[in-house]
Symmetry: C2
Subunit: 318 residues, 2 copies
């Protein structure tokens, strides 16, 4: 089933990818093969509105392009929240962003840079990146899951991103059946209450009375803290169950995990492997769960891959 | 999002649909609009091999066609188990069938009847029927679930059946997260252990020590037997959770329930409605769960719809 996921690229020049996160904006420059040639990071001016946020990205991009003889062919953005991919606009943003909801990202980029611009949400961009140049290169059916502040999911079905009829497909972080803790979304018993960064913090606090970041708890687990290890083990088991359900329903055999919490892969992995081994899918083909290969570049590379795909498609169907 | 699911039909003549069940084979004759004009049932000679099973169906069909002036345009089959839709062949059959696995159903039908024949599994055929002429007419994104001896699932995505890369998509009956009872498939904690007919029987036996059929337990519940009602309520809650998970992942807002256990719809419905009301999907659009409208005709009508779709597509792309 493995075929190249990228269009046979008549796209000339460099592709820029931008990951606009809550605190940091990361910009990469890729060649047409999507290898990262250089990268830069700037703080995201999240309190200052969409124009300031995109300008910060363009300034970082300028430093990367300085002295570069090859032209820029296009740029892609990955952003948290709900986006309108067709209009290149942010629809719903987290409360930590001011003046971001409603902002026309691709309009601003095309005006400032003079090249075609594309926008997707960060979880979709993550999965695009891993399929284009990461842990699932060339595969046609892949689940993506990001464990960060929240839990995000994305679906790559038959060689393309699958959004669903209302743009909400892949949202495995907010379906019922994962205990009974209250979720940030107002629901109960969602995967996010067990596997997001704040769930790690809350789970550890319930056990020990101590409030620590997910990273600190991971470090403690590595040093032998049993409570810390147990919180990650519980997260891993819940992630595995969510992946097995999604993979079972969609008959998919590869899942890629990303996001900050998944940096503690060695803490999550044993519970994931155990759960997957216990549950052979109906298709008889075991689920392969792998960590992100692109790490902190994944969203930005995926945004660049999005641009490459759209530009390639435009060239092929003039 | 509602558009006609059927091709604008240049298909002339009648369509036959055959539902080959473990004990009964049901045959329907439909006009090109897929309305059932007449139907017949014969016992399935499941112990006597594929040739005998299809012959029984052809005999029933002959009685329906007797004196009928209009020609037969094509025939479709829905059969339990794993089927190869392209070759029209049974791949894996239940132990209650002899000489069925490996049997070339469409070859036998085309040789006997001289018209194009098509095969799908019964759960897919059920969903085809409900979308073509039942509870979800014209919808483009629908989940189908059958509660019978086992629990089956099927996906109608963007106006077509979605099978997945290994033909196992939609298998919501066998993913983990539904308690810890042992499942017929060898796994544990699957929906089937709570919502299939034998799960109703086993659940009631655990509570009361009495072994009754799912139908008998439904009748008892209607007469006020609290244990019987509780077993159906538990099944309804589990079905709702499975539907909410699947709908959430796929961003689908309509689900159709069929199969013998779902005949007790009034016993399942309150728990389903309660669970759905408690869990607004991420898309913000509530999940609509409806019972089969075609009832015992659903699989046969879906098989006829399959034939109509394939014949229509063949006419459109000669």
């Amino acid at each position: 089933m493995n075929v190249p996921a990228l269009p046979p690229g008549p796209v000339d020049g460099l592709l820029a990818g931008v990951d606009i996160g809550g605190t940091t904006t990361r910009v990469v420059l890729c060649g047409p093969g999507l290898g990262v040639e250089c990268a830069a990071e700037v703080p995201t001016p999240a309190a200052h509105g969409g124009a300031a946020m995109t300008r910060a990205a363009f300034t970082a991009l300028d430093t990367l392009l300085d002295g570069e003889p090859r032209p820029l062919a296009g740029i892609g953005f990955g952003a948290a929240g709900v986006v309108d991919r067709v209009d290149g606009r942010i629809l719903v943003a987290s409360d930590s962003f001011s003046g971001w909801a409603g902002f026309g990202v691709t309009d601003a980029a095309e005006a400032a840079l003079g090249v075609p611009a594309f926008l997707d949400n960060d979880v979709n961009a993550f999965l695009r990146g891993e399929v284009a140049h990461g842990a699932a290169v060339g595969e046609r059916h892949v689940l993506g899951m990001t464990l960060g502040t929240g839990v995000g999911g994305a679906l790559w079905i038959d060689g393309a991103l699958y959004d669903g009829p209302h743009g909400a497909a892949g949202e495995i972080g907010h379906v019922p059946g994962f205990g009974d803790l209250h979720c940030s979304c107002g629901g109960r018993g969602h995967l996010e209450t067990l596997a997001a960064g704040r769930a790690i913090t809350a789970g550890y606090a319930r056990r020990t009375g101590r409030v620590r970041s997910a990273q600190e708890i991971a470090d403690a687990a590595v040093r032998g803290d049993q409570d810390a290890a147990a919180v990650y083990e519980r997260a891993g088991a819940a992630v595995a169950r969510a992946l097995l359900i999604t993979a079972g329903v969609l008959d998919v055999t590869t899942a890629v995990l990303g996001g900050g919490v998944s940096d503690a892969w060695t803490l999550l992995e044993p519970a994931i492997r155990a759960a997957v081994a216990e549950e052979p899918p109906v298709s008889g083909r075991p689920l392969r769960v792998v960590p992100s290969r692109l790490g902190r570049d994944a969203v930005a590379v995926g945004a660049a891959a999005h641009a490459l795909t759209e530009l390639g498609a435009a060239v092929r169907t003039p």
